[in-house]
Symmetry: C2
Subunit: 224 residues, 2 copies
Amino acid sequence: MTRITPASDRRSDALSRDRIVDAAIEILDTQGERALTFRALATRLSTGAGAIYWHIADKEALLAAASDRIVGLALARVGTMPDPRDAIRAHALALFDAFEAHAWVGTSLSLDPLQTEMVRFLERIGGSLVALGVPLAQRFDAWSACVNYILGVAGQSAAHARHQPPDANRDATLRAVAESWNQLDPSTYPFLHEAAAYLPGHDDRLQFLAGINLILAGLNQTPS
Amino acid sequence: MTRITPASDRRSDALSRDRIVDAAIEILDTQGERALTFRALATRLSTGAGAIYWHIADKEALLAAASDRIVGLALARVGTMPDPRDAIRAHALALFDAFEAHAWVGTSLSLDPLQTEMVRFLERIGGSLVALGVPLAQRFDAWSACVNYILGVAGQSAAHARHQPPDANRDATLRAVAESWNQLDPSTYPFLHEAAAYLPGHDDRLQFLAGINLILAGLNQTPS
DNA sequence: ACCTGAACACCGTTCAAGT
DNA sequence: ACCTGAACACCGTTCAAGT
């Protein structure tokens, strides 16, 4: 069947789930989570608010679909790696970066089988652990630890970003937290006094990776 | 100064931040996150909706305060332990259990110095790592990994609970996910086919603990 | 089958007015 | 200083009516 796209600039194609998710991501990224309303989305898509419900169940499903899309984009950026440890690190960093760039991605991810990109991510980590030779008895726990660490900690990191005004100075925020720790009683909070010195200027991303490396290192030990 | 509490059953004491947070937690626990509105809260406290704003900045601050309270209750349940590894495990499980019992606790936690219980938690984990003898050079990364794993993964776990109807059968949900994994193409998703067998009936809590143990085991290795 | 947009049943937050 | 509650400016979602 031949399909000819109209020569004239059509104002918009037919509505579709994909186009809705595209528009939602654009609003989320440029104007933030609070700006994503069905009315704003409908305006951007030149349609009525109710039309969206023909394609997507509700706002929760919309956010889940948008998050899954971001996961997919992150996975696409990860090349194949010969060393399974490197593969796990690369996937972890890719998701971390994606979550930082789109701070609204976070708790909306679930094991929902509709989230096809999430499923691909789960498989990739599992496959890397198989390639790494983690024995079957430990494999499921190790997989759960990796996957949950990546999603949980990256999500946690994004949550911090979410609770800040978008123009917040990261260094200033960290310095303020360090300052507040320094003002605690040093005898009851000795560690936080020590940590306060490390807080400003530390690299979230490297710290995130250090955690992954601890888990990978733990895999080499027989569990106590 | 002597204070005599009135003999008669006063309908309510003066409004206070603590009483507001108490009432909010009760609504969150019994009726869920969506039921927590300033109107419902005001009704329960026999006051006007606007009165709450005299004590708490906005809804975000309310949720943060409620979450911090839950962290405090969890910490209170952890006794002192001679072995720092046990202390870390005990703290991890206490927070995990608290997050499961109050699925609305999650992303609202931050490094905000107003969250005093959170600060106590951060100190306790750090102190345990000092007691464990983790050298200064690794200490900050190790602390970050532990703290972020616990908050992130426990929060992730609670997020799953949140996205389920409160009466959902956990086993049935896991079986459904396993079933959906089994229907994927086995040649592109070999790991998930294997994992599907482990999914129903697995213990989230033990898996969470296994991740903590991997991190603790990793601390014994020199980083690669 | 798909879209429209008014209508419904709510929200968080503010603020003049009270005590 | 603290509380009241109406008012404002929104929401997500539904649904009769259109094409």
